[in-house]
């Protein structure tokens, strides 16, 4: 299997290599962004079947900084909206002989389906509720910018885990590096079985207890569009699972607060927390480009 479909199948060594390489692509302040010509003459096609701003733009910038030609297609602007099947769309794209296809799709496993039918390396930019590997990589890069190692870090992931591809990818990655992973959320959004997804994972339903001594708090967006039923009123959700300033006192002194964005202020995270000195949310966005450069460089044909 070529390409990057998920974190779960990767070894710790492969992940370390990507994270290490991405450091070369980080932008030092007041300096021009690092560029290479390693993908010069190559074509990267971004296909986004689901709306996305930051991930799509981040992949575009990454491809350009590597010297690649890049084309982005969104579902609403392509023949997908004319009822063309996924297979037909992809055969069409395949005929353009891209060196990599970056794909986001609302169906879990859509990139795997594509990878079975196309020789082109597929880079998963988020598939349904399954995985979002580059998000987990950029989250790890962000943590490692502030900490020496992921090993034995206590990481709390709070929110709608069942519907979150970000959570799944992060759980796999953090587990491979030996972190202690605490999942926190209401049962309908966090089935008990998720504790068995990877070694080192446990579930804590109470937010203050979950956060106690945490080195990293990852908040997840409430994914209203993925829930087939409404399980929680917004007020009740924020009351019991929202992250507020007073929670931070329970965590370790230099706790990092992360969020994959886009943020619903007051829905899952209080504005004061999102904007606090503990928040590394904007570092995450910045690292997105560096990590995606490392990924595109590694996996393009």
């Amino acid at each position: 299997m070529t390409g990057l479909l998920g974190i779960a199948p990767l070894s710790r060594e492969e992940l370390e290599q990507i994270l290490h390489r991405s450091r070369d692509f980080q932008t030092p302040s007041n300096e021009p962004s690092p560029r290479t010509e390693s993908l010069r003459g190559k074509l990267v096609v971004n296909v986004f079947f689901e709306p996305s701003t930051r991930t799509r733009v981040s992949f575009e910038i990454a491809a350009k900084r590597l010297g690649a030609d890049v084309v982005s297609i969104t579902a609403s602007g392509s023949s997908v909206s004319k009822g063309e099947s996924l297979v037909d769309t992809l055969n069409t794209l395949g005929a353009m002989r891209p060196h990599a296809i970056v794909m986001r799709h609302q169906a879990s496993g859509a990139p795997h389906f594509l990878a079975r039918h196309l020789p082109t390396p597929i880079i998963n930019a988020g598939d349904g509720q399954h995985e979002h590997p580059t998000q987990a990589l950029l989250d790890a890069r962000t943590i490692l910018d502030h900490r020496d190692s992921l090993e034995n870090l206590r990481v709390v992931i709070i929110g709608d885990l069942a519907h979150s591809r970000v959570a799944r990818s992060n759980i796999h990655l953090l587990s491979k590096f030996g972190a202690e992973i605490i999942l926190c959320g209401p049962s309908p959004l966090l089935p008990a079985g998720m504790a068995d997804l990877a070694p080192g994972v446990r579930i804590e339903r109470d937010v203050p207890r979950a956060i106690h001594g945490a080195d990293v708090i990852m908040m997840l967006r409430v994914q209203l569009e993925r829930q087939h039923e409404s399980n929680f009123s917004a007020t009740e959700y924020f009351q019991f699972y929202g992250l507020r300033l007073e929670h931070l006192a329970l965590a370790s002194d230099n706790v990092l607060v992360m969020h994959p964005g886009p943020i619903n202020r007051g829905r899952e995270i209080a504005s004061e927390v999102a904007d606090s000195t503990r928040s590394v949310i904007l570092n995450q966005v910045e690292n997105g480009v560096a990590v995606r450069m490392a990924v595109l460089e590694r996996y393009s044909r």
Binding site: S85, V87, A107, G109, F113, G128, Q129, H130, M194
Partner: protein, 427 residues
């Protein structure tokens, strides 16, 4: 008037317990006798088939198939489905009513029977429980019975309304019509695409909990107890539902169940976003799979069914979330059962054959599934050790949705005979 004798085979007729090397004598489409000696007046010039090294058994009976005609002829027809069935050793196929129009009245029942006269195998239609399979009004159960329907079922659209199911069972009981239920609580399963468990959580796919099946199995058994209806549970797939059936049978109720061979052979871990593994009920946990195998050994399960569900061309070539449920079954069911049960030494050959012959026949009171004298000359010749590779592109079915394409199997149906005529001969 034609006659045929099949010599030197190991003749197994599970219905009568017959299992020895013998000849089978067929005359005018009827079994004239089994044994060493030809029956009186059996023609000397009868056609001879040499079955040395082969097993001779009754033709298989499938209680659960979707033949798609009328209405979905692009996916399958009575002709193509019949040929695929014959190639799998089936000589009698009961077809579900989810056609277009739905088989919910005697006119459609008669139409299917009429159209199936030219089919390679016997086709026995199953009528709907509710009109249009909409779960609102009871279908014409008595007149479908008279027209030739062998059971009623809303397979694929489980009857959520317990009151309607009760009324249907009362009428079915009055008319002596078996009720086949597809046990699934639609509120619990809606939106689900695979078995709910660690694998579905890992894959980020919506789950169909075992609970959705178990609640309905329990409900339908209790409704059958109340109404006195004869109940047959279609494609039972969970350990818990099996327990319910086992208990009901121990209590002497007329409750039977079938399992699909894919539920005996595959678990949810085989689902790799490949639409050819998207089935309802879904491939369950290995615990469920093991429980079904034990249920086979213990005799709780009466039949192995195919749930043959053809889907046309590109329908399965979609995102896992989008593609329809169901897979082809006829051509691989017996070979896969041999591999899973017989070659693994979980059952004897007569035990396995019973699940394909007299077991299902007895569920619906059909006269087929046996080689006793006077029975229709429906039989199969099997080479239970021969290796072969399944190529779905060579299938007689119009559709190609099989997870077993390219797989090697040990054991093959070599010849299928329906009413004395060879309808399938393996290459």
């Amino acid at each position: 008037m034609s006659s045929m004798r099949i010599d030197n085979g190991r003749v197994i007729d599970p219905a009568s317990g017959f299992d020895q090397t013998a000849s089978v004598f067929l005359r005018d489409g009827i079994v004239a006798g089994i044994g060493v000696e030809a029956p009186p007046n059996f023609p000397e010039d009868a056609q001879r088939l040499d079955a040395t090294g082969l097993v001779v058994a009754p033709g298989f009976v499938d209680l659960h198939a979707h033949l798609r005609e009328p209405g979905f002829d692009h996916a399958e027809s009575l002709e193509t489905g019949g040929l695929a069935a014959a190639a799998g050793g089936f000589t009698t196929v009961c077809c579900m009513p989810d056609t277009k129009p739905v088989n919910d009245n005697p006119a459609i029942t008669r139409y299917i029977i009429e159209r199936a006269r030219d089919a390679a195998v016997h086709v026995r239609p199953i009528g709907a429980i509710s009109k249009g399979m909409l779960g609102e009004d009871v279908a014409a159960i008595g007149s479908m019975r008279e027209a030739g329907a062998v059971a009623i079922s809303d397979d694929g659209a489980p009857v959520m309304n317990a009151r309607l199911m009760r009324r249907a069972m009362e009428l079915a009981s009055d008319f002596g019509m078996p009720v086949i239920t597809d046990c699934e609580d639609d509120n619990l399963s809606r939106g689900g695409v695979m078995h709910e468990g660690l694998t579905s959580l890992r894959m980020g796919l919506r789950g169909i909990p075992a609970l959705a099946e178990d609640l309905m199995t329990f409900r339908d058994i209790e409704l059958a107890r109340t109404t006195g209806a004869q109940l047959h549970i279609a494609h039972l797939s969970t350990a818990k539902s099996l327990e319910f059936v086992k208990r009901a049978r121990e209590e002497g109720m007329r409750v039977t169940c079938e399992v699909c061979v894919h539920h005996l052979a595959l678990s949810d871990e085989h689902v790799q976003y490949d639409g050819n593994y998207k089935i309802k009920p879904p491939l369950r946990s290995t615990t469920d799979m093991e429980a079904l195998r034990t249920g086979i050994q213990e005799g709780v399960i009466s039949a192995i069914a195919t749930d043959h569900q053809p889907h046309a061309g590109s329908d399965k070539m979609q995102e896992f979330d989008q593609c329809p449920f169901g897979i082809l079954g006829f051509e691989t069911a017996f070979a896969l059962s041999l591999e899973t049960l017989y070659h693994q030494k979980l059952v004897t050959l007569p035990q396995l054959l019973a699940l394909f012959t007299c077991g299902p026949a007895q569920v619906l009171g059909l006269t087929s599934g046996t080689l006793r004298e006077g029975a229709l000359a429906d039989l199969v010749l099997l080479d239970i050790n021969r290796w072969w590779q399944y190529d779905v592109n060579q299938s007689f079915s119009k559709s190609r949705n099989s997870p077993f394409h390219g797989r090697y199997f040990q054991g093959r149906v070599l010849t299928t005979i329906v009413e004395g005529d060879v309808v399938w001969q393996s290459p």
